[in-house]
Every structure is written in structure tokens, then in C-alpha cells.
């Protein structure tokens, strides 16, 4: 797959293999994720797509027995180098999970500010501005601007997920990883989040794992198809969905298995 013209910030996996103990769940994957694009990662259950995602922000190694070989380059820098602090890395590569996980003891404001506060002391004005900016980007500002101090748990499921997105956006990461973000949402909430992906890619690079093929088709510029740990095919979404080059890809997309 040829890198596009604007290669300013890319996430690139180079022969990445992710293992649990002796079992490899992501096998020798090399892929370029171009800047300011949305890449969808699709595949049947257990194909390693979530694990792959978690390698991009070094969350995989936090799991029991998790480790990797190969590497991932963020803007050309090896994030698995010895000198790299994973905590710092995760402030540049944000993640949103399948189920909304607002911090229950914090207000809406504090939830969004959480990622900022851990990064060092900022003035009240800075934090206020950052919180508003993040909530606007997550399309949640208008709904919560009058109740920022209320508990985050008072929001609906869809709102909570957008809150988690705002929380991930506030520290101004460069990349946003979304792990099946609409899996637990109703259609209205799902649509809202998909719209967000379009809007956000102007400023962020987005990688979204989804088991919903229609969603992948709607939302992404590039799509990568994983099958049992292997990266079978990757390419522009329209191309992959209409004229896939691999037989397995076609079989999955046409629903012959899933």
C-alpha cells in the first residue's frame, strides 16, 4: 500500500507480533496508518484486531503475559524503545473503549480534565478552555455546559461514551484509538459517534476497530482486514469493499463467514 502524499504523522507497525505467553494473537503485521485519516480494522471475533490496537499505545503489555516482538513507529520513533516511557506515550496516543467508563467519583468537568491534570499543573483558565474545547469536539458541549459539576454517571450511555471521547481528546493526543466504541450504544448514539469520526480526522489520526462492516464502510478512509492474527489485506475502503484482492477478504465481506 503506497503512503499518501501527506506523510507528516504516521503510525507504522513493522513486523509486529503480539503474544500472550507463547501464543501469538497478532502475527507479523506490517501496516502504515496515514495521518489525518480514519482506518478501520475489521475481522471476525478473535482475529486479534483489539490486541493489535492495544499494541499501538502499549496497553497490550499490561495484560497478563502480554508482550510483543517487532515494533511500532510513531512519526518515525520506535515506541517500544527501551528509553520510552509508556505513560508518556499514552498521552500522545489516546484510547476509547467499548463500554463507556466515566470515572464514577468525578464530575463531568473533572472527568474531561483528568487527562490534563495528570500531565502537570495548568492554570484554571487553561483547564477550563481545554475542557470546553474537548467537549465541543466530542459534540457534547451543548448538552452538558450547564451541568459540568454534576456526576458523570447522570448521563445516558451515548453521552457517557462521548464524554470518554472528550476525555481522551483533552490532552491533545495525535492519534485516537477507538475499540468498538459504538458496540454498547443505540442507533442514535452510534450515528453521533460516526459523525464525530468524520469531524475529528481533520485534526487527529483515527484507528477504529469494529465488527460492524457497514460502520467500517461509512466511517473509514482505509480498511484493514485481520483474520486469526494475520493482516490479510489493507487498502482504501471503497476498493476493499468493492474489489477485494484476497479471497478471504471477499468471503468475510460478503458474509460467508463472520
Amino acid at each position: 500500500m503506497a503512503p499518501p502524499a501527506d506523510a507528516r504523522l504516521q503510525l507504522e507497525a513493522v513486523r509486529l507480533t503480539a503474544l500472550y505467553g507463547r501464543r501469538a494473537v497478532v502475527k507479523d503485521v506490517s501496516i502504515i496508518l496515514p495521518a489525518h485519516t480514519v482506518t478501520a480494522v475489521i475481522g471476525p471475533s478473535g482475529c486479534g484486531k483489539s490486541t493489535f490496537l492495544r499494541c499501538l499505545n502499549r496497553m497490550h503489555e499490561l495484560s497478563e503475559g502480554g508482550w510483543v516482538t517487532g515494533t511500532v513507529l510513531l512519526d518515525g520513533d520506535d515506541i517500544y524503545a527501551d528509553a520510552v516511557d509508556p505513560v508518556q506515550l499514552r498521552r500522545r496516543v489516546g484510547m476509547v473503549f467499548q463500554r463507556p467508563t466515566p470515572f464514577p467519583t468525578m464530575s463531568i468537568y473533572d472527568n474531561v480534565a483528568a487527562g490534563l491534570r495528570v500531565n502537570g499543573h495548568r492554570s484554571r483558565a487553561d483547564v477550563d478552555a481545554a475542557v470546553e474545547r474537548a467537549l465541543r469536539r466530542a459534540a457534547l458541549w451543548d448538552e452538558v455546559k450547564d451541568r459540568l459539576r454534576r456526576s458523570a454517571l447522570a448521563l445516558s450511555g451515548g453521552q457517557q461514551q462521548r464524554l470518554c471521547i472528550a476525555r481522551a481528546l483533552a490532552p491533545e493526543p495525535e492519534v485516537l484509538l477507538l475499540d468498538e466504541p459504538t458496540a454498547s450504544l443505540d442507533p442514535a448514539g452510534t450515528q453521533r459517534i460516526e459523525e464525530l469520526c468524520h469531524e475529528l480526522k481533520t485534526n487527529y489520526t483515527i484507528v477504529i476497530v469494529t465488527h460492524n462492516l457497514q460502520q467500517a464502510a461509512r466511517v473509514s478512509d482505509y480498511t484493514a482486514f485481520f483474520y486469526v492474527g494475520d493482516l490479510v489485506e489493507v487498502g482504501r475502503t471503497e476498493m476493499l469493499f468493492t474489489t477485494p484482492t484476497q479471497e478471504r477478504t471477499e468471503a468475510y465481506i460478503t458474509g460467508r463467514f463472520g
Binding site: 528509553a83 520510552v84 516511557d85 508518556q88 465541543r136 469536539r137 469531524e199 487527529y204
Partner: protein, 330 residues
Amino acid sequence: MTALPIEPVATAAQEPRWRLLRGVNVGDRVYQGVLTVLAVTLPLLLLALVGELLVSAWPAIRRFGPHFLWSSVWDPVAGVFGAAPMIFGTLASSLIALVIAVPLALGVSIFLTEFAPKWVRQPIAFLVELLAAIPSVVYGLWGIFVLIPFLRSTVVPSLRAVLGWTPFFDGVFYGNSLLAGGVILAIMIVPYIAAVSREVLLAVPASQREAALGMGATRWEAVWTAVVPYGRAGLIGAIILGLGRALGETMAVTMLIGNRHDIGLSVLQPAYTMAAAIANEFSEATTNLYLSALFEVGLLLFVITVVVNALARLLIWQVARGTAVGSRAL
């Protein structure tokens, strides 16, 4: 889809992208270190406790050997000590306590989990738990001024009328007795057995009860033939847990049991338990050997309770594997 006012992310003039830090966060190391130090105090404490008991008891252990366990001579003046009456009293009072407490506690737990209407469960459970919160010395106080007179006026004459021919209800009843000690222990351990039994019964899968009911069993039959047997190990564990508590009880027992180094079959006679003896005589121990003998009693008590509690936990685990069932009661 409305256009949102998104400002572009600052690019060129920002600080170096990478702030590469060395290895592991210092904060993590410090945190783990501090917590480890705090946690390690526990094993150290246990070692100190056991070590201290052994060291202090050693003179008596060396002097009396295994005879300590079956000799009934406790003569501080002559320097001869035997713990048999205390051991007997401990076991006997605990046995009496179990005989009374087990039906009560099982009744409560079965009632609460299977029969009680929903609105009654929380209040009754709360009240039974309150029994566990009453301090031992308050039980003792109540025992001296309410229970013993009651035993003397009502219970003992009735028992004597029916069972006076047995050796268990022989002799004059002055109040402070094995029976009084046993009864107060019973009341004290009911909440523990009931609480753990309740958790055990709740851990039994609903499918057990439903299968029985589906086959036409009455409510009681479903409980007695399906639920209770499934949780049998845990229930026995709960009972042994109650035993463990009874063995270690001090204040209420020493206030009611009579504190006499005596072995007898009659529950109406005064008796002694290991914990009560330590409480009573520790400050009077004038010689080193006397003190050492009491420490040996303490060591014995410690070992017995640890073994009993371990057994209880093992059994409870079988039904409620991995959970912390009963940890609060312990």
C-alpha cells in the same frame, strides 16, 4: 451534519514531541515499595507473636512436657501446673454453645434466604448482625445480672426435673457454671454462624432449588433436600467458624463460668476455659514459672483456634470458591 468550530491543532512551534524518560516511573516504584513495607508488617507480626509465645512458654514446656495437657493439678504455690481442666472447659463450653447455637443460626439463615418475605429480610438480618456488634463485656454484664438469675429460677429447675437423674445436671447450682458460660457463648456465636451460612446458601445456584420445585417438592423439601446438601460443606464450615470464635471468647466467659480448675460432668458446676484463665490469673502470676504456664496456655489456645479456623475456611471455600465469603466474620 453541522460544522463545528474546530480549531486546528498547533503544529510547528511546539515542544519536542518526545520527552523520553528513563525506564519505570519513579512514582510506581515508591508506591509499590511503601505498600510492600506496610503489607510485610503482617507476616512479621505473626512471626513475632508466635515467637514470643514460644519463648515465654518455653520454661513451662520444658518443665512439664506433655503432662501439661492432661494433668489437672494447678498449684501456683507448689509450682505445678496442669491445663487439663481448662482444656476440658474450653471444649465443653464450646460444645454446649454449638448445640444451642447451630439450630438457631441455621434456622435464621434458612429463614432469611428461603422463606422470609422480602421486606422482612433486611431488618432481621440487620438485627442478627447487631448481635455480633455487642461487646463481649456487655454480654458478660447481661449474663451476670439477667441470664444467671433466669437460669437459676426457671431453666435449671426444669432441666433438673426432667434430666436430674443424669450426671450432667448434678450438684448445687450457684449461678456461675459451665452451663451459663455455654449459653452466653451460644448467643454470641449465633450471628457468625448465621451470617456465613446465609452467604453459603446464597452461593448455592438457584437452579438447585428450582429443579426441586419443578419436580413438585414443597418449599421446605426443596431447601432441605436440594439447597442445604449442596452447601453442606460450607455450612459445616460456618459451624466450625462459630466454634473457632467460641474457643477464643474471653470476657463474657470469665464473667460467667466460675473460674475454677475443675473437671466434672455436671454443667451446673463452675469450670474454666483457657482464655478465661489467662484473663483471670495473668496479673496475679507472681513467679516466672506461673507466667510461663499461662503463656503456654496462650500458645495452646492460639494453635487450636488457628487450626479450627483454617479448617472452617477450607470448607467454606468449597462452596464459595475464591470469594471473600466469611472473611468479614473471621
